[in-house]
Point group: C2
Chain length 752, copies 2
């Protein structure tokens, strides 16, 4: 189950397929567009992106208030190198215009490439056989390679493009994609030498230099291939003609000045290295890299092949999209589309990181380092927001600046600070990496904690935090959002713990850190007190934790009289309408219960779940997986599996209708979380690993590995729970609340 | 005390003077710019406006959500006809470049014109005497007339402009004025015939046709005047040359297609009528009109000439700016500037109308008719905002559409509905005009009441209203704002009362109205119940009414550590910062106590006043007068007089620093309210007129007239309270809670 096949060819399916067949390597991403185009007026978003590369565009507000963002990052669409047009006896090959048979398109997740074959019938009834393969290299992050193989008894003409006339996708009616057309890249130089087409360009406002280069190589048995070049204002076309058969390999290289001082030199260096490679040899590298990945990170499901394939698809897409260096993170849509303009959100810390924490420590670490790298921007933003101390991380960003133009559902989400702190704490719990905490984690924890004590206040013996928005954006700018307060409490408590740990670990350096940040013992005491006395709103009558101070006093949304066509509500109702009702876009208090279950009791969790689930629309793709995980926690097994199914098919079946704008990375991670933190019930706490496993009836087994403090542990849930210490020292693991000592292997009965 | 004199000539003073010396007649407004300009780089906002004429410009939001406004009205600056350049022996006369003596500038509020005289010293030491007079006619609303008189022993050259190169003022850094430069008018035709310069133009997007026309007439004793015309792309210049002496009259006429079918014909018709007039005859008309106005509306203060002059200045400016027909209202800055883009706000109903209600019934009625005329826009807006029934009046508008681009401090101010209803109710209380209520008031009351019952809900036995913003914009989108709920209660209760009254007055027509609006008896019952059970938040511990459900639980703003330069706070702090604190821009609960004192008790009012006043910044110009009025109510006499003084000098001394953008109409009205509703303590209630008069020590007397239900009553507060029935049937008036029968004249002791 390593091959995802999708042969749909409707106009809609092709556009969605561009996202699903995206190839990427964490640095470079190329949407799965057809080389030769579709023909007709089929819409395409022909995108190529580099993770972390941004342009900055001015933001104008019709009524600008103090501290409103004045500029915004946008991920530019780069020069198009994936286009390769085909003509047979002068007839352009376009599947939406001509006839075809035997169409097949596959994403091979074991070998790391996609291929597409079909037979094309010309208007004179002659039949050609075409195969397109492509990969984005895990070996050479700069490289996107293509292979085209055509067999046809007649004249074959192939035109390979370097197309510089590109732009970003816009939709005036959807707030989730860019609404204004802008030129995000400008060309500096386009040169076509014999073997290398080269273009130098830069992002329009941010001035990041970029280069790309294409190389071509042909193989032909039947006839000679003739070749010539054509130049235009739009770029360079390399034209190949042959008859009978043509095999073309095109290697495309991208570089950017965030990473390389001389982008022109760099693409040529890579090109030199590629002289010794062919498409097949690149495929070999892919396979090796992916073996390592799957060895560490595969999640095996026995008993349902579709579930197995789907979860692998999601893991694969996450692995393709996640940044591998401090310049990059993982955007809401990964490298697969332009939704949310390539911005990084809390999705990283709350959804994606827990997936990678599990067994891809290096990636997890890079994601955290990205945040630390941008702490100065967060510091400046905190000052802009009137905070004398601390940092305020941006709600959405690429370059580190706040890019949220609608603050009630953006900047107001102060929980981003808590989410990031939570991720650093989880990383520490997984790794016990004290040096990392000294160098990076401590600063992030202290600065976010300083912000909480700056913005909150003691009132009636409790520490309270006003005017924030929680994860549920259908309620905005409220006081004492449970989620925010719980995350703040966690962050404050752990900041003090980590400081004490660091003082023991390296007093001198820790004191230097305190000094640099101006942190005093008194600050730590206030943090401790604020954490201890944090107000977590609770409604005694209903016996549930309250989303915020006022939430439960509002009218409940009239679901009965809301037509299905009015979802997602945000596209059909004014924010003020939504704010007036008890209605959730996505879990808020329930998400806090998942992350921090110790702050409440089981019965409160259960009642809260029942209450909030009934008024949640799941208009956010981040919603179902959390409800699924908590359904597992509460023993709602059918529900848990149903939510898992909803999450699993969200992109594969385009259930939100906007997969064309890119894959929903947080939801994809959510499917993995559903397995690990839901069905297997993993929690990584100060007391160590905890599991509460159960297995859906449809399955025979579920297994995955955990990397935990220099150990590799294989977890298999089947009729029993099987724990195997693959590597590392013995460990006591808590299962269903009871400790079990694991030296090599343990079998435990499964609670049914 | 009828002449306002201001001889300041600094660059700042000149710009502010343009607002202070604005001449207008409710239809046409011309800022008080110097005909000849200032010279140097002295800034000017050379504005001419017609009340109710708007362009519509597109609004783009960086993150557009459902129901965000997509277009916005803007008051266009019209063709400049006030410019008349002067040269003496070829030397341009500019007070900021050359030398001058004997400068004097006066606004004559009794005669209705302004005049400006000075002696100008040329670089050769020759002295000229110049006098400029101008008026905007109360007789011919379309007419702005100028008179220039120059005496100079040498060559005099006067160039009179029709300048079509105009634009609106913009300031990127102040949210209170327009930030984007746009072309709001486009020229269609410019024709210069011998005696009439004519231009036809239109508003760029809204397509309102406009025309203007200038006529010139000269008088010269010493020499012949020669005259010629010069045309350019920018317009027409009429050039006059003479020596020794030149007297020029320029009559400027404007018309618009909102009022006139053929604007070209109309300006010529007016021009024909003006052939029989001269500047002096126009002045005679002015005087007559103003005699009527002052007879009805003067407020006399004996004992402080400055106070007397200032209050007259304010009354005069209000009279100049207020619309006289259903196409127009009174914008935040009147016709004196471009702040808030010429929009009409709640300022009309809560500040300006109570001033005109008192003794200018026709004007008050027109202001209400304007709202009724735009009820269909309000109906559509309610639907956009998700309300199945009712109307939602725009927070700011000219043409009736919502123009607020920042909804938390705009659309969310649902109290605008209550404010408008309150004004209709007050009008009814003043006039007992049942026919008016049948034709207009009933519909407005019913539709706004329907909105309250649609948006609110019963909870814990109370009727509650969530997600609104009260008058204090430093707190936004809250639940159960006291002010909003109180106004809603008032509106609901009175809707039922008025319906019962109308059924008794004209059952058939009233039932037709119900039918047209789909109002049932059950609706009226719900209105009654919602009104009766309206939740008015109260804090038992502090013994004060709460601004909203959560307000008192927030941290109090750190006033001690806020530098003076950080006021107004809105220009120095992000809204989220402000929303986190107890800090008021302007009175909220205290304003409700002024309007609806029966909903609370004296001690609660007093404690609330003390509490809220201490945390109010008065960053809104609408603030001090209300605190002053309530200070009177509570017996804080020094405070009352101090606030009155602050209000009185706000524009005259430019204490808010932005009088250049126009006069603060609501504050100006507020100074009158301070006298009538504050010092004299007038309330107009269902039980009749009530007074609680007192007199500041500095004064000998305060007097004004009230028109009440076909009566004219003269109120004089001095050592005693003197009430005189000038006209109409006897009436019982409540003074300090005790009824007094007034047939002709009553003297009552003043409570000290």
């Amino acid at each position: 189950m390593w091959q995802y096949q999708n042969d749909a060819l409707s106009a809609d399916a092709l556009l969605v397929g561009e996202s699903l067949f995206t190839l990427a390597n964490g640095y470079l991403g190329v949407r799965g567009c057809f080389e030769e185009g579709y023909g007709g007026d089929v819409q395409t978003i022909r995108g190529t992106y580099i993770n972390g590369v941004y342009d900055i565009v001015p933001v104008t507000h019709p009524e600008r208030l103090w501290g409103f963002v004045e500029k915004q990052d946008k991920q530019p669409n780069l020069v198009d190198l994936q286009s390769i047009l085909v003509e047979l006896d002068g007839e352009p090959v376009n599947i939406h215009v001509g006839e075809y048979t035997d169409y097949k398109r596959i994403l091979d997740m074991e070998k790391g490439f996609s291929h597409r074959t079909f037979k094309y019938v010309t208007k004179y009834g002659k039949i050609a056989s075409l195969t397109f393969k492509r990969l984005v290299s895990f070996e050479y992050r700069e490289v996107f390679a293509q292979s085209v193989h055509i067999e046809y008894e007649g004249a074959i003409k192939v035109s390979s493009l370097m197309n510089t006339h590109v732009r970003n996708f816009t939709d005036h009616f959807d707030p989730r994609v860019s609404s204004e057309e802008m030129t995000l890249i400008e060309m500096d130089e386009i040169v076509g030498s014999e073997n290398r087409h080269f273009a130098k360009f830069h992002t329009t406002h941010s001035g990041i230099d970029l280069a790309c280069l294409s190389m071509h190589r042909t193989f032909s048995n039947a006839s000679e291939v003739s070749r010539h070049q054509s130049h235009s204002s739009g770029g360079i076309t390399e034209i190949f003609t042959a008859s009978g058969q043509l095999e073309l390999e095109k290697f495309n290289i991208f570089s950017d000045s965030l990473r390389e001082a001389d982008v022109e030199k760099h693409v040529n260096t890579i090109a030199d290295a590629l002289e010794g490679e062919c498409f097949m040899s690149l495929l070999d590298h892919q396979h090796n890299h992916l073996q390592d990945f799957w060895n560490a990170s595969d999640i095996k499901i026995e008993g349902n092949e579709k579930d197995q394939l789907s979860i692998r698809f999601n893991l694969y897409q996450l692995f393709q999209s996640v940044g591998r260096d401090q310049h990059s993170n993982i955007s809401a849509k990964g490298l697969s589309g332009e939704g949310y303009e390539g911005h990084y959100f809390w999705d990283t810390e709350i959804y994606v990181l827990p997936t990678f924490q599990l067994n891809q420590k290096d990636i997890a670490k890079q994601l955290l380092l990205y945040r630390h790298k941008h702490i100065e921007s967060a510091r400046l933003r905190a000052r802009e927001l009137g905070h004398g101390r601390g940092v305020k991380f941006p709600w959405r960003t690429i370059s580190g600046i706040e890019c949220s133009a609608y603050f009630p559902a953006g900047t107001a989400q102060y929980h981003i600070n808590g989410d990031i702190a939570h991720a650093f704490i989880q990383y520490y719990l997984y790794t016990e990496d004290k040096q990392f905490m000294l160098e990076y984690g401590g600063e992030v924890l202290l600065e976010t904690a300083l912000l909480w004590i700056d913005m909150g206040h003691f009132d009636e013996g409790k520490f309270k935090i006003d005017a924030v928005t929680g994860p549920d954006e259908y309620t905005a700018v409220v006081d004492n959002n449970y989620y925010t307060n719980a995350l703040a409490k966690h962050s404050l408590e752990w900041t003090v713990k980590v400081c004490n740990m660091l003082l023991a670990y390296n007093q001198a350096e820790t004191e230097k850190l305190f000094e640099r940040l101006g942190v005093t013992q008194e600050d730590l005491q206030v943090m401790q007190r604020a954490g201890d006395q944090m107000y977590l709103p609770h409604d005694a009558e209903l016996g549930i934790d309250m989303q915020d101070d006022r939430f439960l006093r509002k009218k409940i949304w009239d679901f009965d009289n809301t037509p299905q066509s009015h979802y997602p509500l945000l596209l059909h109702y004014h924010p003020l309408t939504l704010y007036r009702y008890q209605v959730l876009k996505q879990p808020d208090t329930v998400l806090a219960h998942f992350l921090l279950e110790d702050y409440t009791d089981y019965e409160t969790m259960r009642r809260s779940y029942n209450y909030y689930e009934a008024i949640t629309t799941h208009d956010s793709s981040l919603s179902p997986c959390v409800y699924g995980i908590m359904a597992s926690r509460l023993g709602y097994k059918e529900k848990a599996y149903a939510y898992f199914g909803d999450s699993l098919k969200l992109d594969l079946e385009n259930t939100h209708g906007n997969t064309k704008d890119g894959l929903h990375m947080a939801n994809m991670a959510g499917t993995a979380l559903s397995l690990i933190y839901g069905f297997a019930g993993l929690r990584v706490t100060e007391q160590g690993l905890k599991l509460r496993p159960w297995l859906p009836e449809a399955w025979k087994s579920l297994s995955f590995t955990i990397n935990y403090r220099s150990r590799v542990i294989l977890v298999t849930v089947s009729d029993t729970l099987q724990l195997e210490m693959i590597e590392g020292a013995p460990l006591t693991i808590e299962v269903e609340g009871e400790g079990h000592y694991l030296e090599t292997k343990v079998f435990l009965p499964l609670k049914r």
